[in-house]
């Protein structure tokens, strides 16, 4: 465990080094959030009845999404890992007495957390003071807030575990870039990064809610604003836990297969 902690620390301090990058990232995310909310406002004005969430909850969803972008965005995968797989540098990693899956997983978590920690604070602090329907609302209740924190972590874990699947597939495909691009866009859409899940049409929405992608940002962000509550909420949390185990299991399995392939065929 200690060696994974060391990887974690190293990644974290590397992430901290890029001050200008963090500042610039925060500004970017503000701008995206503003545009996103203005867009929803236009649709809200067009037909408030058809709006599936309260406007306030939508705005909070958008701001939370921007604040914790680094936790959930699948496209933020590590080029270093991709490169080490495609150019065969993976051989070096195999020389170290660590489990590849655990190491990469620790690394991804650290990367995402370090970025998010730096970037979420300014966004959260500013948006909570924005005027009522446009700003970040206060959590509906203390218990909802606790559950939000818990599911945030579960969601991060599911996201990272899914990314591991993508890394692992790269051992078996000729076009890692292609796999990555397609996987990214599928995840983005079904996780609610393009539009939140409640905006999906009926039928489609119910199916999407069962997929692992719905266990990423969708759950914590909607619990926070009270949009997801009651029985439906507990279902969502259980699904998160299910997918967490399922994805980790599949990932480990692929890892074993990949290692066999590397050691037998020489990469």
């Amino acid at each position: 465990m200690r060696k994974y902690l060391a990887f974690f620390r190293l990644r974290f301090s590397m992430g901290l080094q890029y001050r200008a990058a963090a500042l610039s990232g925060v500004i970017t995310q503000f701008a995206w959030g503003v545009m996103e909310i203005l867009m929803f406002r236009a649709f809200y004005r067009a037909d408030a009845e058809a709006f599936p969430m309260t406007f306030q909850a939508t705005a909070s969803y958008v701001w939370m999404q921007q604040a914790f972008l680094a936790l959930f965005m699948v496209w933020m995968m590590e080029n270093e890992i991709f490169n080490s797989i495609t150019d065969g540098n993976i051989a070096y990693e195999l020389c170290r007495p660590v489990d590849i899956y655990n190491m990469w997983f620790a690394r991804s978590l650290a990367n995402r957390l370090s970025r998010a920690v730096l970037r979420c604070m300014p966004i959260l602090v500013v948006t909570i003071f924005l005027p009522a329907p446009y700003g970040l609302m206060r959590p509906v209740s203390f218990s909802a807030f606790l559950l939000f924190l818990l599911t945030l972590f579960l969601g991060l874990w599911v996201t990272a575990a899914f990314c591991m699947l993508i890394y692992m597939t790269c051992f078996f495909t000729i076009s890692p870039m292609g796999v990555r691009m397609v996987a990214t866009s599928v995840v983005e859409f079904f996780s609610g990064a393009v539009i939140p899940l409640p905006f999906f049409p009926d039928g489609f929405r119910q199916v999407a809610a069962l997929l692992p992608f719905a266990s990423m940002q969708n759950v914590p962000l909607r619990i926070y604003s009270g949009d997801l509550a009651g029985k439906e909420m507990w279902q969502a949390v259980s699904l998160q836990i299910f997918w967490l185990f399922a994805l980790t299991f599949i990932g480990k399995l692929l890892n074993t297969l990949a290692m066999k392939k590397v050691t037998v065929q020489g990469g």
């Binding site: 620390r9 974290f12 301090s13 590397m14 901290l16 080094q17 001050r19």
Partner: protein, 262 residues
Amino acid sequence: MITMQHVCKTYKVSKRDAGFSSAFKALFHKEYEYIHALDDVSFTISDGEMVGYIGPNGAGKSSTIKILSGILTPEQGTCLVNGMTPWKNRIAYVKNIGVVFGQRTQLWWDVPVMDSFELLKEIYRIDTPSYRRTLTELTEMLGLSSLLQMPVRQLSLGQRMRCEIAASLLHDPEILFLDEPTIGLDAVSKLAVRDFIKKRNQEKNTTVILTTHDMQDIEALTDRVILIGKGSILLDGTIEDIKTGFESTEEALAAFYRSHHI
């Protein structure tokens, strides 16, 4: 004719220490330090001369080459190459120079070498008869005939370097800058490259300035060496000047560096 007089160049770089706490500190405060890459450098090189420009890593070699090829503007000093100041009127100036960066390629990776050459013909606006003449010449001297139709990615490093040198000479420049042209090459390719540079210098009277870490390059090619360390010229003479009393040039050079604390 190349003259450099009292040229100075300083860089500003940010300091960065290792470790968690200093990384955190750097979030709020950055420190800079100034590095004198070139400190009052002067020399003259006449037409048709071949000069080895040597020094340890970070001594200011590549800054000098960059200034001479018009990429870098020094903050002090003058520099005249065939009557022109390199960093003024870039486009007119660079027509007369050829540059080989040993560690980078200027050829297009996925297409035959010939295609890269054709593109360079267009870039330098070389007229067809002289292009043909130069190409035939270079092909013969560097033994490229079997390589021209091959895509660059299939060439060995030595083959690629030969093509690289040819690419830098297609427009028949009067001055050639070679930045570590033999780096990473096997013995045969090294000899071929050296041989070619020597011939080119003798037959065409091309002025050649060569940076390298390979002392055999220097011994084989140049009579004159300019040795630079910490931004100043430490020696302008022949390799024999420092070699006396040592078995090999490498040892002599290492001892020389030590005596100057670099």
